[in-house]
Symmetry: C2
């Protein structure tokens, strides 16, 4: 399977890394304190950090990310108001990252999955599904294969422009959970 670097060591980083390891991928973690000193390895790099931390990582690794699949998991909410996103209307964090990394293949993924649902592979009683969006079909297929090898479904939601809608879904789900209308072990599940 793939060799994957995960930048970040929080709940989401651990849940995503655990999923890939379950699928037989080789996973390297870079703690945020080591950003810029530790080397990025493999074909897939997951930016498993809050949105405000992304720019510093891109600045530190810009050259090393060329040609790689860069996975953006962020929900760029205004966490003071929980009432708006901090990216321009109609755009997305993923689109902004792709603009800053023109030589990388940016894929939006995991922003609609709470960490607990990646660790348990269940959203309530249903199997967890990861929604992806990106413009490079090979990058999406490689990422989907690594996810599915770990025992979680993946759905290709379309081009990178669909990251706007994935971030809207993440926004709704986060505000509903913060408002105690959804549990952090549940949320929007894909039902077939």
């Amino acid at each position: 399977m793939a060799h994957i670097t995960i930048i970040g060591t929080g709940n989401m980083a651990n849940a995503i890394g655990g999923l890939f390891a379950d699928g037989g991928s080789s996973v390297t973690y870079i703690a945020r304190e080591a950003v810029g000193t530790a080397a990025v390895e493999g074909d897939i790099v997951v930016l498993a950090v809050p949105y405000p931390a992304v720019d510093g990582i891109l600045a530190a690794y810009e050259g090393q990310l060329a040609g790689k699949t860069v996975v953006d998991i962020t929900n760029p909410l205004n966490f003071e108001t929980f009432d708006e996103l901090v990216v321009p209307a109609g755009s997305s964090a993923a689109a902004l990252i792709q603009h800053k990394l023109p030589a990388s293949h940016v894929v939006k993924a995991f922003n609609t999955n709470f960490a607990a649902t990646l660790a348990s592979k269940k959203v309530g009683d249903l199997d967890t599904t990861v929604l992806l969006a990106g413009d490079d079909a090979n990058a999406k297929a490689q990422l989907a294969a690594a996810i599915e090898a770990g025992g979680v479904s993946a759905i290709d939601a379309g081009a990178l422009s669909r990251a706007h809608e994935l971030e809207a879904l993440g926004f709704l789900q986060l505000t509903a959970a913060v408002g105690e209308k959804l549990p952090w072990t549940g949320g929007f599940a894909v039902a077939r």
Copy 2:
């Protein structure tokens, strides 16, 4: 329970009307051919028509809708490309309707529910949940009560500004179903 007028007689109109009737509400339908001649009755009016048909209905009933709860169920997609919404970036069909009906209480609802999941009250194996957004708490509470009386859950997703995110969710779900990645009897279910 409530007295509800449903404008439209398609799949969504019938599924929504059936749900309200199951809950003991009184339901009156107005076929699109009768718009402007049939009277709007009750406190809640559901615009169960495709988005391009909404403006004609508002023009025909503007005066009669004052003081009422007006329910917008539309997904304002460009149905030729399935790649964009036809409302301005960051806005929503519901916000535009509210702007045209300043004396009404607009609530976004049902746009994230496929008709079959309202008729069966199941999304796959999970119970169906209707997501609502609107600025008038009483209007949302009355609508939620009529929905829940029919045996379907309702979640208040927040202010009318959240209709943007609900329409993004509807967009994702529709394009996934059209692309045969989701069945029309399933989709995004709320898992607890």
